[in-house]
Amino acid sequence: MRLGWKWWGHIAVYWVIMGLHIFAILLFTKGFLLTRSELPHYSQCSDVSESPCFYCSDSNVNLNQTHKHQHCWTKPAIGRLVIIVLDALRFDFVAPSTFFQESKPWMDKLQILQELASQYPSSARIFKAIADPPTTSLQRLKLVQNGKRVTMMGDDTWMQLFPHHFERSYPFPSFNVKDLHTVDNGCIDNLLPSLYQEDWDVLIAHFLGVDHAGHIFGVDSIQMLEKLEQYNVVLQKVIEVLKSRSEPGGLHENTLLLVMGDHGQTINGDHGGGSPEEVETSIFAMSFKKPPPSVPTKYNISSCELNSDKKNLCINSIQQLDFAVTISALLGIPFPFGSIGRVNLDLYALGGGTWNFNGDGETCEHQSKLGEWMWHYVSVLCINSWQVKRYIDVYSTSSVIGFSSEDLFHIADLYDQAVEKWSYTKNFFIYKNESCNTVLPSLKRQIDAYSNFLSSVADLARSKWTEFNLKIMAIGFGIMLLSIFVHILAISEVKMKNGISFSLSQDSGISFGLFFPCFVVAIRAFSFFSNSYILEEGKVACFLLVTTGVVKLRDSVMKKKMVLEVIVFLLVITICRFTIEVGLSKQTPGFDFSNIYPSWMLKSAFGLLVLSFLNEIVPILSLILLATLLYKALFVKEDFFDFKKSLVTKIVAMLSTWSSSIIILLGKQGPLVSLAAIIGGYCIMRMGSSNHDARNADNEGTGDLTIDPLSATQWSLLAVCLFFCSGHWCAFDGLRYGAAFIGFDEFILIRQAILLTIDTFGLSLIVPVYLLYGLIMATTVTATMICVTIHRRHLMVWGLFAPKFVFDVVGLLLTDFLICLASLYYLG
């Protein structure tokens, strides 16, 4: 019975720790991955009858009844839409240089847009579009889901997002940042012919050249200027075609052309942040309607300057948030359910124009045009506000957390005011009994009321959209801390029981041997707070590993022991380091932050030759070496009782058996990696055991054993190094092809480490070594948790921090599980 209890006591520690880890991670992940809940609703045409905006629908018999069947939410103002997206289009690429303090070489290159904007101010216009950070990609238009026929060409990301929504598509791989022309040329080849086709309502052409040129060469480069000049020519051709078909009855009679960027870029070509350069992009809109729509200039907010030809040119401003809803209003399709944008007056006016409004005639004649237009805009805004209010209501009831009740109350109040005003305003048009002097100001007030509501919703959403449940995250984190505490407690308990000391040399108080591994682990943990360090994690781990190696070298030189092993170890890590660098340089450039290592091997032809040669030779060599080691391990067993010899054979045998699976999984790199694993592991064992041996010899009989926390640290660092060495990195696209084997080899390494420690240290020492290894892993994961929490609003949270977190967590849980299994096997 007593034995049973003791046995359970040993086992339980591991299971308790694992349970705590699982619990903590589950809670934390639940809080962290609780994003803005994507509501499964879509706006339907019929929904709009719920809104208060159709004054005709209830008591009053009105002519509009018939119109309700013809259009959906709003009356379609345009027939067809051509959207040309130029990725990373800076505002100053489009706007004339006179708008800026000094003229830069990349300005005034898209001449055609400026000319049109100054020549036809009523039908062509340049907008300054302000995107919301993170400025990574276009708020993809949900237009494609609304029954319009869409043709798409260019960036193949669209296809990944909406695989089945396009009537026709010409996707081109956007994978390679260095390739400036594939996507663009594909677009150009297909764009002009498509303009003569009739089988689309919306045409999207997404050019990537400017984005890629920025990433590689920067904004101030010849390549960028060439790209812009090329675009100028393309746009000129497109506009010519559209113009030539825009006669009444023509194909493009009622077409709107939009040339827009999805975000800007900095001078270095980066984007993603919130700086004005990145946030400000441009939209050029041109209507081919004849006669051109009359834009009410009264309520415009635009800035005008003389351009280089001394012509007046005005530029309006638009929030990117408002784009989708404005386009929906223009096309006459239901507004996206989850949009909180507002229909932009200027852009809407450009596409709008002549309305066959039913209520005319009785309004004041001299102001009728403007009054009509405003009336129409007000009714669109009414639908707009109603839709936003509906979304906010549905959102705040369906998701656990969202806006605070005060904010919601404030918004509801604003909305009620606007609706109340509306019930008064619409009477003008129902009964048409007011003089024109009162109509226009009251319309203006109505617009203001709706705008006020919509802008306060947008502000609220920008500032307080809580995507994370901090409470749950904090609890998870607390449990993680608790588990670390339990870990430390268990270690000290075991230490007390078995009389094991952790210090390398007992003479110097809190010894260097204990302090140094803690320092290394702490540095590694803190390094996760910076995205650049996560990006270069492999190199950082190598750096730390070599540092521990150098410290060991100093130690061993001092004792004149194991010098060879340490030097071999350092050499192996050095080779690992080069492999990691090659791996990093191969990293897919799909991410804009991918820092391509300027490796000399890739730059010089000679280096390439050497590299390919090495590629061929090294695996074969290492395979042969492995085979000989295995042979030795299996068949040379004469001096089995010699401790050191048996250690070697055991290690090699163990690792060799595992390495066969690694070799199969990793292909060419396999032999190299497994050889590195064997040699590295062997060296660490020897270095660790040197102390162990010495202590054993010194204190024979006392049972005072020393284990080296440094060894455990080295094991964990080696595992990290080898993980990166084998061509992985902590990003979801860093997974190798065999998805079934996600990180499998890494875990094999951990298992190796565990089994090895068992084999070599024997039973008495397993417990603390396990606990130490687990503790190191847990510390790392805790640091990752903190960093994910801090960076939860960071741009790269989904590209970098979250994958890192997932990888770490999976690693920790697997380690826990294996440790538990091993403890069952060995202690049971």
Binding site: F543, I573, W600
Partner: protein, 233 residues
């Protein structure tokens, strides 16, 4: 037990050796300030005569640095060679030059293992940097101790300096290495500054660590000296 015996033995030899060349705090100050002035001069020559800085031309600047600093340090430390009766001044200088090359090799290996880029482009940078590091770390010890293994072990293995000369060698060497180690930390950051390149910030770190450690060694020698004086009184 064995270790302790060895320790004691080395200690006795050290005490004898340092008794032969007692160095006052002012002399330590002089030596350190000369080497600091040497550093300053080499930077001044590089910037004023060739208008290069560490950031614009790291390789050439480091070359200037070690070429100017090398004779200063070797000649300076050779004066404090152990058992001057046995070994001539010239021999100590020769040992210093040998130490420069050997130390450069060790430093270069360490740098490459820790992550210095290899390749034709960075080869000269690595060579010049390791020459500089060798000057900071190995050369003074080589000039003073020669091939006396126990002294080397005492300084670099156990880090237990005794006497002003030991402090003068030990602290700056360790300071330079630690400074270089910490100097490597800004390198992975994505600030895209020119000084983040190898070996600029590492060199800055090493020089900073070296200078700080020189001040520290002077202070330690000063404090110890006054303590001993008061004890004697």
């Amino acid at each position: 037990m064995k270790n302790q015996n060895q320790n004691q033995r080395t200690k006795t030899t050290v005490v004898e050796a340092s008794a032969a060349a007692i160095v006052s705090a002012s002399e330590v100050f002089l030596v350190h300030s000369i080497s600091a002035i040497g550093l300053a001069i080499s930077f001044w020559v590089a910037s004023s005569h060739h208008s290069i800085t560490l950031i614009s031309h790291p390789s050439q600047t480091l070359l200037h640095l070690w070429v100017i600093q090398c004779p200063i340090l070797i000649l300076l430390y050779s004066r404090y060679r152990q058992s001057p009766q046995q070994f001539s001044y010239l021999r100590a200088v020769g040992r210093g030059i040998l130490g420069l090359i050997a130390g450069a090799l060790v430093n270069a290996f360490g740098a490459i293992a820790l992550g210095a880029p290899i390749g034709v482009k960075s080869l000269s940078k690595t060579i010049n940097w390791s020459m500089m590091m060798s000057l900071f770390t190995v050369v003074p010890a080589a000039s003073v101790f020669g091939s006396s293994w126990t002294d080397w072990q005492r300084i670099f293995g156990y880090t237990k300096p005794v006497g002003p000369i030991d402090y003068m060698i030990c602290l700056p060497a360790h300071g330079a290495v630690l400074g270089a180690w910490f100097g490597a930390w800004p390198m992975p950051l994505d600030w895209e500054r020119p000084w983040q390149e190898w070996p600029i910030c590492v060199s800055y770190g090493a020089i900073a660590g070296y200078l700080v450690a020189m001040v520290a060694s002077f202070l330690v020698v000063l404090v110890r000296g006054t303590l001993q004086h008061t004890k004697r009184d």
